[in-house]
């Protein structure tokens, strides 16, 4: 009997030992596997490039798609043949997985083709340093269209995007500022879209400039001054009307007789455009007056005869 007990205890101990060994082996295996997997993950998506400007807008796809459908369905049914999904895909293809300092106009060509649409004559409204005011104006007066009132501009307004060579190909943390590199997705987009917007303009075109800016109402470094002015087609555009808006109660840095305006006029005249300039174009000034109703410039009966 003692012998039997002895062998049973030995068997028990062996089973226990085997069990512990198996457990240990499993533990080691698990640790090895875990480290392999995480090591692998790091290799698949290393740190993305870091930039100084805000990153891609979260839910960019939903926002852009929604805006596209909103534009063609609720606002401009004449554009019903536009394929919003394709348009979104072409925007994404332009920048995803690419180094955001290497973007070219070729990258945006498919998007530009899919999303561009004709602009009625006499409606194009350009602007520089008057973003807030000009868009309030076009919202209340549908007779004028800024770039941001076209499908392309509408989808991209106030939204940012850029890619990165590593997965998932879109950088939501940061995007390059112009000062870091000029050929970044946003700058290239707006330059191209602005060029096309200018090329498409016909008839009488308008431009709203800011006469309260110290650096001058017209600057050659602005998109208007460097791209739009030079892409207006003299065969299509009959006249350029400048609206020089000063802040109500703000500095009157420049008026239609100012230096930078004279420069703009000579550039345009050289290209054979007819130009007119109006200080504080009244319909727009009235909008400014909503914020400053008590200012003398905002009294209703300012014109006597």
């Amino acid at each position: 009997m003692p012998l039997q007990q002895g062998s049973a205890r030995t068997r028990q101990r062996t089973v226990l030992l085997v069990g512990i060994v198996v457990l240990l082996a499993a533990l080691v295996l698990a640790v090895v596997l875990a480290s392999l997997l995480t090591h692998g993950k790091h290799e698949v998506s290393p740190q993305m490039l870091k930039w100084k400007d805000r990153g891609t807008t979260k839910n960019l796809q939903e926002v852009v798609l929604g805006r596209c459908y909103n534009y063609i369905t609720a606002q401009h049914p004449e554009l019903g043949d536009k394929d919003c999904l394709k348009i979104w895909e072409s925007l994404k293809e332009a920048f995803i997985y690419k180094n955001p300092c290497n973007i070219t106009s070729e990258d945006y060509q498919p998007l530009m083709e899919l999303a561009s649409h004709p602009i009625p004559c006499n409606k194009s409204l350009f602007w520089s340093k008057t973003g807030d005011l000009v868009h309030r104006y076009t919202k209340s007066n549908q007779n004028f269209l800024t770039l941001e009132d076209t499908l392309l501009g509408y989808m991209a307004d106030r939204v940012s995007w850029c890619g990165d060579p590593s997965a998932p190909g879109i950088n939501y943390e940061s995007c390059p500022k112009r000062s870091e590199c000029e050929s970044n997705p946003g700058s290239v987009f707006w330059k191209m879209a602005s060029k096309m917007f200018a090329e498409a303009a016909c008839g009488v075109v308008q431009v709203m400039l800011n006469g309260s800016v110290e650096a001058g109402a017209f600057r050659s470094s602005s998109i208007f001054g460097s791209i739009e002015v030079f892409n207006l087609n003299p065969d299509k555009v009959s006249e350029v009307r400048i609206w020089l808006m000063q802040d109500i109660g703000g500095p009157q840095s420049e008026s239609c007789s100012g230096h930078s305006i004279k420069r703009l006029i000579s550039i345009l005249e050289e290209r054979n455009f007819k130009i007119t300039c109006e200080d504080n174009y009244r319909p727009v000034q009235l909008l400014q007056c909503v914020h400053n109703p008590d200012h003398t410039d905002c009294r209703l009966c300012t014109n006597s005869t």
């Binding site: 852009v64 459908y69 909103n70 919003c84 309030r136 209340s140 909008l287």
Partner: protein, 233 residues
């Protein structure tokens, strides 16, 4: 079948897109919202039901998910002057009208309805309010208006159209039937009424006359501190 326009095409993409547009760009101060859930709650209010049987409370979950605070003194109620209100409110920067809240923003200018015994949206036609009151869009705006009024506080502004046929203060009307009854008196310090005529339009109603007088009396009787201003005579 019905007399009204059908559901707006691509309604789902538009609603979800607007929801993200609002929380990411228009008013990120409202914080994180689940836009897919918001769409589902919106849709479930009216699909698979008789399109004449939709009640404001069917949108309760939608409102619950999309609700956010309305800053005090920024509420702007209106009647018969939507475009004016939109440019005056400056997209929520100066005032926050119902169309500048998330729940109003996603539905503005859109149309929708479902059908009984089918999960699909009806793109052909939808009932008008004349055909039946309890339709998807009417009930949506009733619920949204109730909610907007309940969450308004401080100085309340009301923009009325002095050139409107039938009076500046329409009865029945959203303001009269769904907003005034749901204002929280304890949270409101004053009600400021503005009566604005169309440029070159008739001066049908003004402060102290006709329907505006009715409104002023009603609000004063309810115990509110009321002021009223006309545009230029």
């Amino acid at each position: 079948k019905w007399k009204g326009e059908g559901t707006t095409q691509n309604l789902e993409s538009i609603v979800i897109g607007r929801c993200y547009d609002y929380i990411r760009i228009v008013n990120p101060a409202v914080g994180e919202k689940n836009c897919s859930q918001i769409w589902e709650a919106f849709k479930n209010a009216f699909i698979n039901k008789d399109p004449c049987s939709i009640l404001p409370n069917d949108y309760a979950l939608f409102i619950n998910l999309s609700l956010h605070t309305i800053p005090p003194n920024k509420s702007l109620f209106w009647e018969n002057n939507q475009l004016l209100v939109n440019s005056f409110a400056a997209r929520g920067r100066r005032y926050m009208s119902l169309g500048d809240t998330l729940f109003g923003f996603v539905g503005d200018f859109l149309n929708w309805c479902g059908q009984a015994d089918s999960p699909g949206l009806d793109y052909e036609s939808c009932p008008t309010t004349m055909e039946c009151e309890n339709n998807a869009v009417e009930s949506f705006w009733r619920m949204a208006s109730i909610t907007y009024a309940q969450h308004s506080s401080g100085v309340i502004h009301v923009l009325l159209n002095g050139s409107a046929d039938g009076g500046a203060y329409p009865q029945p009307g959203f303001f009269a039937d769904y907003e005034i009854p749901n204002l929280q008196k304890g949270n409101i310090s004053q009600i400021t009424i503005w009566v604005v005529d169309d440029i070159g339009g008739p001066d049908i109603d003004s402060c102290g006359t006709h329907s505006v007088k009715t409104l002023e009396t009603r609000l004063k009787t309810l115990g509110y501190d009321v002021t009223c201003t006309d545009n230029y005579e």
